[in-house]
């Protein structure tokens, strides 16, 4: 591994500005690392030519002193973001060889700021999954392995390719999306930092839709500071997404290193779930001690509707998915299977194009929205969602600045270990899904290792549009825990 791939994003940015190395050199180092890491299956499409072209343009701008905030920084992009002229599939057979004729707002802002595209990253099909095993391109391997074992582990999901690519030093940062935990859970499983910002902070325009009232884009990086840098470029109002919010984007990086003295951090008692591994319980208490040592005040809080968040999510998300995925009908793009009439063509196309998890969710969503069942399921779930959000509002009204929880109920598991029972897989998102249901920001920060030497993360949940407190508090955890030492390449 060359040193250019082990730089943090901030170090690379500063080194490029200081002309210590060229964007072309950083791009080449990452292109070589990606070629060597194909066994991890993190990238579903490599774009080395585009990367070199963009890096050369960055070098020209840097030479003139005109570099943007991410000038020359090579990134990986989750295959859920439409990239103009670059195949975008959501890792579903039904999108086939879809080549967008437009660019998602989030990625267009990254290119505006000078970033370089290395390629498209693997994910669960339509972001439906918690292990990256539902991708039509096959599973991604976690660069981490249990001590003394070669068993391949999942990187988490749905943004598994993003998490692995960042942890394996294949890019300096990556984009992800998070509907129920799809950034924070894989970040925790790979020892990386991932933040899902407040709903409305990033534009959803040009991002393949899963559940529109829950989906948000966010970054994966190796440090809290890097996440702050990347999120700033990704954020901002977009007239093309009516749910993106028109408020100023703060300089998130300036919040990193800010004192948390006197800030009130809530510890929700409902997150102490049955059968939680002792080491996660210990890590959680350790995290609270670190924050206390940095001057924060720790208070026990109650979020009484926590246990209902996951079942409510599995009504709301499939319902919205069944509606969003109606567009894949074999007419305008993607796969088409011929049929004897138009209905037969739709049914055959969708049977052939959707994998089992997507099909299951579309069927559930169709059922809970169907005549006679809407009130019992969908309406009830949306009322419960109001109560989940109210729980958070009441806690914040009492002066709590942020909430500390574990990020996941376990460390990374083996490929093929879970999935026979869909419910077992769904329970992975138990600590993250409440945040999407309430539209709040949440960050996962690596905080320690389990008994097998696998990384574990802590999650911080913030007030709406207060990502700055998450960056300040996350940096305290990062400093106290020590920067996560990522695995040396075995691939």
């Amino acid at each position: 591994m060359t040193s250019l791939t082990t730089l943090t994003l901030a170090e690379a940015r500063d080194g490029l500005r200081g002309k210590k190395f060229a964007a072309r050199e950083i791009a080449d180092a990452h292109i070589a690392a990606i070629e060597k890491a194909r066994a991890l299956n993190a990238f579903v499409l490599e774009t080395p030519d585009r990367a070199r072209e963009m890096a050369a343009a960055s070098d020209a701008r840097l030479a003139k002193g005109e570099g943007g905030p991410l000038e020359g920084v090579p990134l990986g992009i989750k295959d859920l973001f439409a990239t103009e002229g670059v195949r975008t599939t959501a890792c579903s057979k039904i999108l086939g060889n879809f080549v967008p004729t437009y660019e998602s707002t989030v990625t267009s802002q990254l290119w505006r700021d000078g970033a370089v595209l290395l390629g498209k990253l693997n994910n669960d099909e339509f972001a439906m999954g918690s292990s990256n095993e539902t991708s039509c391109f096959g599973p991604v391997q976690n660069p981490w392995r249990r001590r003394g074992s070669n068993a391949p582990l999942v990187p988490g999901g749905s943004s598994g390719g993003s998490a692995t690519a960042v942890a394996a030093h294949l890019c300096l940062g990556a984009t992800g999306t998070d509907t129920g935990g799809s950034i924070r859970q894989p970040a925790a499983f790979t020892g990386t930092v991932g933040i899902k910002p407040t709903y409305g902070r990033c534009s959803r325009w040009g991002v393949v839709a899963f559940a529109s009232s829950l989906d948000q884009a966010g970054p994966f990086t190796r440090t809290v500071q890097d996440a702050a840098i990347l999120l700033r470029s990704m954020s901002g109002h977009d007239p093309k997404d009516s749910t993106s919010v028109d408020i100023a984007v703060p300089d998130f990086e300036a919040a990193v290193g800010r004192s948390i003295k006197g800030r009130k951090i809530g510890i929700p008692k409902e997150y102490r779930v049955p059968n939680m591994p002792a080491e996660i319980e210990t890590l959680w208490s350790q995290g609270a001690e670190w924050l206390k040592a940095a001057g924060a005040e720790l208070v026990e809080i109650s979020l009484p509707h926590t246990k209902y968040a996951l079942p409510a999510y599995y009504i709301v998300a499939p319902a919205e998915a069944s509606s969003n995925l109606a567009r894949y009908d074999g007419v305008r793009y993607g796969l088409r299977e011929d049929g004897r009439d138009v209905i037969d063509m739709y049914e055959k196309t969708r049977a052939e194009g959707f994998g089992p998890e997507v099909r299951r969710r579309v069927l559930i969503g169709t059922y809970v929205l169907s005549a006679g069942y809407y009130d019992a399921y969908y309406l009830q779930a949306q009322k419960v969602r109001t109560l989940i959000k109210r729980d958070f509002e009441e806690v914040f009204a009492k002066g709590v600045d942020a909430i500390l929880t574990p990020a996941t109920p376990s460390a990374a598991f083996a490929i093929g270990e879970k999935g026979a029972d869909p419910l077992e897989m769904y329970l992975n998102d138990i600590f993250t899904v409440t945040v999407n249901m309430a539209g709040l920001p949440g960050i996962s920060v690596p905080a320690g290792l389990d008994e097998n030497g696998l990384p574990l993360g802590l999650q911080l949940i913030g007030r709406p549009f207060d990502e700055e407190t998450l960056f300040a508090t996350g940096a305290v955890i990062e400093r106290a825990a020590g920067r996560m030492k990522l695995p040396d390449p075995w691939w």
């Binding site: 879809f98 080549v99 004729t101 709903y199 409305g200 009232s213 007239p239 009516s242 749910t243 919010v245 028109d246 209902y308 079942p311 409510a312 599995y314 009504i315 069944s322 109606a326 007419v331 305008r332 993607g334 796969l335 088409r336 049929g339 004897r340 009439d341 138009v342 037969d344 063509m345 739709y346 049914e347 969708r350 049977a351 099909r359 299951r360 579309v362 069927l363 559930i364 169709t366 059922y367 169907s370 069942y373 019992a376 399921y377 309406l379 009830q380 779930a381 949306q382 009322k383 419960v384 969602r385 109001t386 109560l387 959000k389 029972d421 419910l423 249901m437 309430a438 539209g439 709406p464």
Partner: protein
């Protein structure tokens, strides 16, 4: 509430997904497993609670009612499986 085979077929048709006969029993089991689990929401007292319609307390912006994009049919059709003279082609719909 649980679903029977006929309901699984009806949902699949509503969702426009062809399902083979030998898949029905398996799908019924999975769907009933998930429905049984989400049933616990019934125990929550939601009297007087409004269903959520927007997660952020933001008023939707209005924009001018005018065309701001378009005029490039070739880009719109670029990914279509079957087109002819600027149209999407589908199997015959009207006899």
């Amino acid at each position: 509430m649980s679903v029977d085979d006929a309901t699984v077929r009806r949902i699949a048709h509503l969702a426009r997904i062809a399902v083979k006969d030998d898949e029905i029993a398996h799908l019924r089991g999975e769907i009933n497993g998930i429905l049984g689990w989400i049933e616990q929401l019934g125990e929550v007292n939601v009297e007087g609670v409004e269903p959520m319609t927007s997660v952020t307390p933001v008023k939707l912006k209005m924009r001018e009612d005018k065309v701001t994009d378009g005029g490039y049919p070739e880009r719109v059709l670029a990914n279509a499986p079957n087109t002819d003279r600027g149209f999407f082609l589908v199997p015959k719909v009207v006899e």
